[in-house]
Symmetry: C2
Subunit: 459 residues, 2 copies
């Protein structure tokens, strides 16, 4: 399919209307967002369907004409997942933005792909319910399902894998399925299609609706910051807090470099040392107990006194510092770009891998402050680099590969939450081995025999 757009565009227009199809500048603008490391690879056409029926009709046209389909939510992914490597049609789903079927008593809700995490929580404000999975960016919830996102609250509430109850998916040939029938509860009926599509990164189908598990807003929340003499002391505290069964909601690690950057960026004055940001959710009474136990543990490990944030505003300021880590890192070297690595290892291996990684960064003269969801064993180096310095770009690339292999050697994974996308396909092969990769390729070939769904990603 080259140069044949004049035959196809009218078919798209008949589905989406004149304004629902675009070529050229708008495309590049939309896709530029994911350009930090992965080069912008714009599609030939963007369509803006308004319903699952339109997505299905458009997919049928693409299927008939052998055109690649690239689903697009908010473009906040970090591994080049929305690049149109082989051109084709970007399905921008932002016009499907309804919150559907809120069942307060059953703690569930369904959302279309245009609904973001913050959008949903704002919709839920008066219900006493919330959706806690929080990857930082205000991502599309269907996109978060597609990439198996998680983030700071996963230690308490799980990732998208545990919180997606059902999906509506348009397959490559345009057929529409519901991965759990009409269900929105526990089930053991047949193969778990829901979790096959969660994390499939647009390569098996277009997610057009996600049913999510909701949680009661905790009666009380309190946040704290605590500084440690060493990485080991911070991680030991984390392990012990979890072992004691404290239902901690967030436990985030920032290394000395990251804290220094946050201090500068947000005019803060935390000691420049390994640091934990903590958050507790519960009843007033249970918070007291959670905090007492945690403080005993951190102090036994040489941690500082807690610096507290109790009211919403102070908590907001504290977490803003954590959520601004990306921009704080960028500000370390103005004019540079950043790439966030993403590995995950068993908790007991964290001190070793973090210490080795910091030595590696130092040895290779790289800027890579570390921030991580330490309760999950998941952490990131935010690699700040000059994209015009070819030597540095190569050194960063080599560093990230070493880091991933270090994680694999410690029974970890090359990606805890960012997904494989374009950037980690070779590492995925190392992680899974050739036979498991063959199984994945077989699943892909079954669901998308023409290789039209987001081609060139994951496998």
């Amino acid at each position: 399919m080259n140069g044949g757009w004049e035959r196809v565009i009218p078919a798209f227009r008949s589905v989406c209307g004149e304004d629902g199809v675009s070529l050229g500048a708008a495309v590049r603008e939309q896709h530029g967002r994911d350009e930090s490391v992965h080069r912008c690879r714009p599609p030939d056409v963007v369509v803006w369907p308004r319903s699952v029926e339109e997505v299905s009709a458009l997919a049928k046209i693409c299927h008939h004409h052998h055109l690649p389909i690239i689903p697009f939510g908010t473009g906040t992914g970090l591994e080049g997942g929305v690049g149109a490597l082989k051109g084709g049609v970007c399905f921008s789903l932002r016009n499907m933005d309804r919150v559907l079927d809120l069942h307060q008593e059953d703690f569930d809700v369904s959302v279309e792909p245009g609904v973001t995490r913050k959008g949903l929580n704002s919709y839920l404000r008066d219900t006493g319910l919330w959706f806690p999975v929080d990857p930082g960016a205000d991502a599309s919830l269907c996109g978060m399902a597609a990439t198996s996102a998680s983030g700071t609250n996963a230690v308490r509430y799980g990732t998208m894998r545990e919180n997606v109850l059902n999906l509506e998916v348009v397959l490559a040939d345009g057929s529409i399925i519901h991965t759990a029938g009409r269900g929105r509860r526990k089930t053991s009926a047949g193969y778990n299609l829901t979790n096959l599509f969660v994390g499939s990164e647009g390569t098996l189908g277009v997610i057009t609706k996600t049913t999510l598990r909701l949680y009661g807003v905790p009666e009380a929340m309190v946040s704290a910051v605590c500084t440690f003499p060493s990485v080991q002391a911070a991680v030991d505290s984390t392990v012990q807090v979890l072992q004691t069964g404290v239902p901690i909601a967030r436990i985030e690690f920032l290394d000395d470099v990251m804290i220094d950057a946050c201090n500068s960026f947000n005019s803060l004055s935390y000691p420049v040392a390994p640091t934990l940001f903590l958050e507790f959710h519960g009843t007033e009474k249970s918070l007291e107990e959670q905090v007492t136990v945690t403080e005993e543990i951190t102090q036994a490990n040489g941690g500082s006194d807690f610096s507290w944030a109790r009211d919403a505003e102070t908590r907001g300021r504290l977490w803003k510092a954590r959520h601004d880590a990306w921009y704080a890192a960028l500000a370390l070297r103005p004019g540079c770009k950043a790439y966030s690595t993403d590995v995950c290892v068993p908790l007991s291996r964290l001190p070793q891998i973090i210490v080795e990684t910091k030595e590696d960064l130092m040895l290779n003269g790289l800027t890579g402050p570390i921030a991580g969801h330490v309760g999950d064993g998941n952490f990131h180096c935010i690699m700040v680099m000059d994209p015009n310095d070819q030597d540095e770009v190569i050194r960063v690339h080599e560093f990230t590969e070493r880091l991933a292999r270090r994680a694999l050697a410690l029974d970890g994974t090359c990606t805890g939450e960012h997904g494989v996308g374009l950037g980690k396909r070779a590492l995925l092969r190392e992680e899974m081995g050739p036979l498991a990769i063959e199984v994945m390729q077989g699943l892909k070939a079954t669901l998308d025999p023409k290789n039209l769904m987001n081609p060139g990603k994951v496998l």
Copy 2:
């Protein structure tokens, strides 16, 4: 493959040794366990491999000779999953019974298929850790993974779907894969193969090792029993307890008929009325709060005072009554057999479906006491029937189909935890619709093109 066993048996013997292969009586004895409703369908041969390498070698022989493979753990499944519909080779995995790679700091352990739930928890006794998923029967943990089991603790700790971290699987052609590489943590690397095999009921491969998430043994536990004036009042209490965020560990519903049966069977004297059995896990302090909140809620709904069980012995006696429900039901009609139905609906639909189901039972003169994991919306009718009364058998069958369809109409599922097996294939088609079934069939055909893995089940 008919009458050709004399050619194949020597090959099996060369892998398993003389004692590792059996024909005839032993086979029927082993498979008789699952005979309550589904007729015993013995395989032609049973093999007892001792390692994954032997499972792989045996699978290769079966693959070469086109012989069906039926994985067998403890035979405690309820939907005829181990019947050898097309004859073939039963892989009895009880000789693979090692607990491997316990990582206390990381809260994980790996087990072979011969390790049961109680066996693992007894192994863990001195570690302060436990595995909470509890389907009642002392099932093989790999078998529990295969059927996506759950049970009484799921409301707090999740089902096998949330607690299996990695699987070692032998595929139909004998190749060995690890569904999450070497990982045993959060990951978003590639398709979620782990949850494709969890719940696949032996139709996609033989699970030879399961890596499980463990939990700290709670500091304190307390159980209670509470009686209600109506089903609605019991379920309303459940919804409100969950809404309030009480991290209740078990909340089990028993209807009046079930309680009456338990009273007779265990010489107890609970009021014959809708009843909740509750269990709280936590610190001493948090238990107080959990119990106070829960008691306020149950009393506001007209519930009785709690009857308490604090020490391990009294708690054991209380839960024995719940776990003996099956035998208590059987004792209602000596000489009869039982079949446990299994549907699951959103919480808010529970009162309606339970009330309608009790009317249906009454109207059709059937004995079916109700017990359920009400926090999950999951419940069972234990259908006690005379297997020689053809009319009654047919009425039970028709009743269970009506019950499943009632669940589907209320956005539920035809099986919350027992799986599809042999008994619910037609209902699965209704639940998923033809397109999603086609997807499942495609996955099956990709992984098992010769249809050798537990043929005739699920799809």
